[in-house]
């Protein structure tokens, strides 16, 4: 088990454009860190730097305070799970899992003991003689995990390991990975672009954008308190309203006053809030943070209706589960939950 640090990592594939730009990251011992971000933001690149496949142009990588930057992949003892699983097609499940142990020149009995044990943990015992091509997606995924775990790696690296699975299996495997990771207490970096997956599995989250980390924190922090517009948008904040300060009070463009707990020290900022945190209220409602809008689109979401409304300062999206139906063109009043408003 180890603590991993990236310091000032800069990576360029073509020598001109930097894909990672002075990236800093720390994963504590035994923690599961999720790297979250849109396609092309550099998640895989970051993971490959940690694994040792990419030589950074600049910066260092430390594992338990040892400089690992120049240590070749095969000497790092990190377990890797690829998006494609990368199981060896010519070897059966047992041999795939035993591959790393055989390279470590362990004796047959020890190998057999360790492999049998990990196959049991990963629920694969009955498949040990099968070739990878005769396994289902979820089973292959578990073999890949078992193969990476059996070498007792310092660090486990997973690159979108669940993206090839169907929705139900994804959910199961997510819980499974979390369970095994906690049981073995192994430091883990998990790459994903799925925010739900990310929040449910991780101890810490690093949201990446364009080769830099936009925000780092616990899942709760990121979910409730995004620090930048990018992070807010990425994790499901859909409403963005420009505010400016008049005599120390925040106002919308049309003069509607907005009351928040901490109005910050900037003269202009962006208010953001999730559609779930806005309520539709009656016309005679008296209170703070009320906006008026006209319904433009109504979408049925199952447990609620989503209304896209037009207000004097732009589009506002609200989810309403009250059961009252509003039609296109209706004028409605909405109240923003003061505690859920985030300023970025």
């Amino acid at each position: 088990m180890a603590e991993v640090r990236l310091e000032n990592i800069t990576v360029s594939y073509d020598g001109k454009n930097n894909v990672l730009e002075g990236l800093n990251l720390k994963v504590n011992e035994g923690e599961l860190l999720a790297l979250l971000g849109p396609s092309g933001c550099g998640k895989t690149t970051t993971l490959r730097v940690i694994a040792g496949f990419i030589d950074p142009k600049d910066g260092h990588m430390y594992c338990d305070d040892r400089d690992f930057t120049r240590i070749p992949v095969h000497k790092r003892n990190f377990g890797l799970v690829f998006q494609s699983y990368a199981l060896f097609p010519h070897l059966n499940v047992y041999e795939n899992v035993a591959f790393g142990l055989k390279l470590r020149k362990m004796d047959k009995v020890t190998i057999e003991k360790k492999v049998t044990e990990i196959l049991k943990v990963c629920d694969l015992t009955e498949f040990k003689d099968r070739l990878p091509k005769n396994l289902s997606g979820g089973q292959r995924q578990r073999v890949a995990l078992a193969r990476a775990l059996v070498i007792e790696p310092e660090l486990l690296l997973l690159d979108e390991p669940l993206s090839n699975l169907d929705a139900k299996l994804r959910l199961n495997m997510r819980v499974e990975i979390k369970r095994i990771q906690k049981k073995l207490g192994i430091t883990t970096v998990f790459v994903t672009h799925d925010q739900e997956e990310c929040f449910s599995i991780s101890d810490k989250v690093a949201v990446m954008n364009g080769g830099v980390i936009e925000q780092f924190g616990t899942p709760e922090e990121i979910y409730t308190r995004p620090k930048t517009e990018f992070v807010a948008r990425f994790i499901g904040f859909e409403n963005f309203i420009k505010l400016h300060k008049v005599d120390g009070v925040l106002e919308c463009a049309d003069g509607t006053k907005i009351s928040v707990d901490d109005s910050g020290d900037k003269d202009e900022c962006l208010l953001t809030i999730r559609p779930d945190d806005i309520k539709i209220v009656a016309d005679d409602y008296k209170g703070e943070n009320v906006l008026c809008g006209e319904v433009v689109v109504r979408t049925y979401l199952g447990k609620s209706y989503q209304y896209e409304t037009m207000t004097p300062f732009g589009k506002v999206v609200v989810n309403d589960a009250s059961g009252t139906l509003y039609n296109t063109g209706d004028k409605i009043r909405m109240v923003l939950d003061k505690a859920k408003i985030v300023l970025v």
Binding site: A51, F53, P72, V73, H74, K75, R76, N77, F78, G79, L80, F82, S84, A86, L87, F88, P89, H90, L91, N92, F99, G100, L103, R104, L131, K133, R147, A148, I151
Partner: protein, 236 residues
């Protein structure tokens, strides 16, 4: 045609020598093509698409010239007054007679069939994902070990196909061994030609031909057996 004809072929030392030499040359040729072809093909398969096209063109290039011309090119290189002996002469080394030996036949056939091995292997190896190598490395294998433990076994189908092509090619090659080997290093194909066209002995010629076909089948069967041992996926 009775069984006796076949038995008398194998009891005649003149024929038997030619038979053994043919098999030996074909096997050595196949083996050398394998040893040279596997790393070359792997290297080519790992390059970018653009570079791979160029390298493949270079690899195939020898196949684009007529085999008689290629044989004469080798005569110019290996002959008594050939390039090699001229270079040796500069260092006052006695000329070596390399032409009209089994060695020159081997050089000629290897040069002839190596491209076949490379093309076949590149076809198989370029479909092996780089993930495989990386997975092996992450599990503790350096590149060389990873190559032998993962890439090589995964290439077995290609190696077998390439070997069958090279072996049958070398076994039946006519012009090259004829021109580079001379009469003292005669191979089976030349023997057939001589029996049929020169001596008009069609019976012997067809006996030899059948023996060659059976030999090819046996070798192919043997290679498939080896392959099934090496590769549990089987050769579907």
């Amino acid at each position: 045609m009775s069984l006796g004809r076949y038995l008398s072929f194998f009891s005649d030392t003149y024929y038997l020598n030619i038979f053994v030499r043919t098999i030996r040359v074909s096997l050595i040729c196949t083996l050398v093509c394998m040893i040279l072809g596997i790393p070359t093909a792997y290297f080519i398969s790992r390059t970018s698409k653009k570079v791979r096209g160029v390298l493949m063109a270079i690899a195939i290039f020898p196949m684009l010239t007529n085999s008689v011309i290629r044989a004469f090119a080798w005569i110019n290189v290996l002959g008594k007054n050939g390039i090699i002996n001229q270079i040796l002469g500069i260092f006052n080394i006695e000329p070596v007679s390399m032409l009209y030996t089994e060695f020159s036949v081997l050089i000629g056939t290897i040069y002839l069939f190596l491209p076949l091995m490379i093309i076949t292997l590149v076809g198989v190896m370029e479909n092996i994902d780089n993930d495989m190598m990386e997975a092996a490395e992450s599990l503790g294998a350096n590149r060389i070990v990873a190559f032998f433990k993962v890439i090589l076994p995964m290439s077995v189908p290609g190696i077998i196909t390439g070997s069958v092509l090279v072996f049958t090619g070398a076994l039946t090659a006519y012009t090259t061994p004829q021109l580079l080997g001379g009469p003292s290093n005669m191979l089976m194909s030349t023997l057939i030609y001589q029996r049929a066209m020169t001596l008009n002995d069609w019976t012997s010629a067809s006996v030899i031909a059948l023996i060659m076909i059976v030999t090819t089948l046996i070798v192919m069967k043997g290679l498939n057996y080896v392959a099934s041992k090496l590769d549990k996926r089987g050769l579907e």
